[in-house]
C-alpha cells in the first residue's frame, strides 16, 4: 500500500521522488525483487496460456482473419487516442483520429477494414503515458504489473487513465462471459501472435529475460516521446566519448 501511495505521489509530483537511474544504468529499479517475481509469474502465464493460444491463432486462422482482427483492435483504441491528442493540445491530430474512426466505422465494415489510411488518415497512436509526460510527470521507476506486464510508473498510470476514459469499457459486449473474455484476450493474442518469434527470443533465449525485457521495454516506451520524430542524441550510446 505504501508503494502505491508513493507511486501516486510521484505522478502527482507531490513528493520529491524523482527516481534517478544509478550511474550507467538505463532506469532505476528499486522494486527489482518484487518485479522479478511478477515477471516470472507473467512468464509462466505465457507458457501455459498466452503462447499456446497465440500459436494456434497464428497457425490455424487465415491471414485475412488476423488482418481484420488487428484492424479492429486498433480501431477500438481510437477514442482514447483522440482524447489524449486533445489533452496534449494536438487538435489537428485529434481531428484526424476522429475522422479515421468515422471513416472506418462507416465504410470500413465497422473497423474491420481500413480504407481511412488510403484517404490520408493513417493510424497515429497516442496514449495517457505520453500525456502525463507532456504534462511534466517524471518517468519514475521500472515496474512489472501482474498480467499487464512491464512498464514504468508513469506509463502504468497512463494505462490506468486510458482504461478509465475508454468508452468501450462502458459498453456491454455481446456473448456474456465469453464476450468479456474476448474483450481482454483478443488484443493480447493479437500482439503476442504478431511478434511471436521476437517475444519468444526475448523471454526464452536470453540468459536473464528480466534484464532484456526491462531494457527493451524502457527504450521502446521512451521512443514514443520523440519530439516531431527526431531522436534525442542523449538517448544514443556515446561510445567514443566515454
Amino acid at each position: 500500500m505504501r508503494r502505491v501511495l508513493f507511486g501516486i505521489a510521484c505522478v502527482a509530483g507531490v513528493a520529491g521522488c524523482a527516481t534517478p537511474a544509478p550511474e550507467g544504468a538505463l532506469i532505476a529499479d528499486p522494486w527489482e525483487r518484487t518485479n522479478r517475481e511478477i515477471h516470472e509469474f507473467n512468464k509462466g502465464l505465457d507458457v501455459v496460456l498466452v503462447r499456446p493460444v497465440s500459436f494456434v491463432y497464428r497457425e490455424a486462422t487465415p491471414d485475412l482473419f488476423q488482418f481484420l482482427i488487428s484492424n479492429f483492435v486498433e480501431h477500438l483504441r481510437l477514442p482514447v487516442i483522440a482524447v489524449n491528442d486533445v489533452l496534449q493540445g494536438e487538435f489537428e491530430r485529434g481531428l484526424s483520429t476522429v475522422g479515421r474512426f468515422a471513416v472506418n466505422t462507416l465504410v470500413g465494415a465497422g473497423g474491420l477494414l481500413d480504407p481511412a489510411t488510403e484517404f490520408g488518415l493513417p493510424y497515429d497512436p497516442n496514449d495517457g503515458g505520453i500525456t502525463l509526460a507532456r504534462a511534466g510527470a517524471e518517468e519514475g521507476a521500472f515496474v512489472v504489473l501482474p498480467l499487464l506486464g512491464p512498464t514504468t510508473v508513469r506509463d502504468g498510470f497512463g494505462r490506468l487513465f486510458d482504461f478509465a476514459i475508454d468508452p468501450f469499457n462502458f459498453l456491454r459486449v455481446p456473448g456474456g462471459a465469453a464476450g468479456e473474455v474476448a474483450r481482454v484476450a483478443v488484443p493480447v493474442v493479437d500482439v503476442r501472435s504478431r511478434n511471436f518469434e521476437l517475444i519468444d527470443e526475448v523471454l526464452y533465449e536470453t540468459e536473464d529475460s528480466y534484464v532484456t525485457v526491462r531494457a527493451a521495454t524502457v527504450q521502446n516506451l521512451r521512443r514514443r516521446l520523440r519530439d516531431r520524430d527526431l531522436v534525442d542524441p542523449e538517448s544514443l550510446p556515446d561510445i567514443f566519448g566515454e
Binding site: 536470453t206 531494457a215 521502446n220 531522436v231
Partner: protein, 199 residues
Amino acid sequence: MHSDRRQFLAAAAAFAALPPIAARAAVSPSDAEAFVAQLVDDLIDILSRATAQDTRVEEFLALFRRTTALAEIGRFTMGRNWREMTDAQREAFIEAFERYAARAYTNRLGDYNGQTVTITGSQDVGRRGVLVRSVLRSPGEQPFEVEWLVNEKDGQPILVDIVAEGVSLSITQREEFSGMVERRGGDIDRFIADLDTLG
C-alpha cells in the same frame, strides 16, 4: 502521421534551436547513408549464400571487423565494469565479444528470405555521428523501423549501433552484460569465459 512539409519545418526548427557551438558529426549524412546501403548489401549477400554455420560466423566476423567499431562498442557494453578490468581482461573480453556478436547474428538473423531495407533519411546527432533511418520489410510481416548510428574513425565511416524500433542493441547489450557480471558475483573472468559459450 506528418506531411513532408511538417517534417521539414520541424527539422528546420530543431536545427535553428541548436546552440552555435553544437558539434557537427564528422561524417556527412550522404556518406553515412551510402555506407549503410553498402553494409545492408553485404549483410544480405552473406545471408543469401548457403554456407555452413561456422563459415557464416567467420564471414560476419570479417564484415564486423571491417565496418563496425567493435572494440569501442565492447568497451561501452562493459559500462562501469570496464574501469575495474585489467588490460589482460579487456583484451580477452574484446576477443570474446567479437566472436559472441558474430555467433549471435548468425543464429538470430537466419537465412535471407526476401527482406528489403529502404533508407528513408538521416539525422545529424552531433558528436555521436549520423543516425541513418531505414524501414525493414519482410514478406507477410509488418514493417520494422531500423536506425543505424554511423560515426567516423580514421577518416572512414564506421557503424556504432543499430536501433530497432527504438531499442539500441549496444545499450541493451550493456544492460545484459551488467546483469550477467552481477549474477556472477562480479567475477569478470568467469563472465568472459561464459561469453565464449553463449550467443
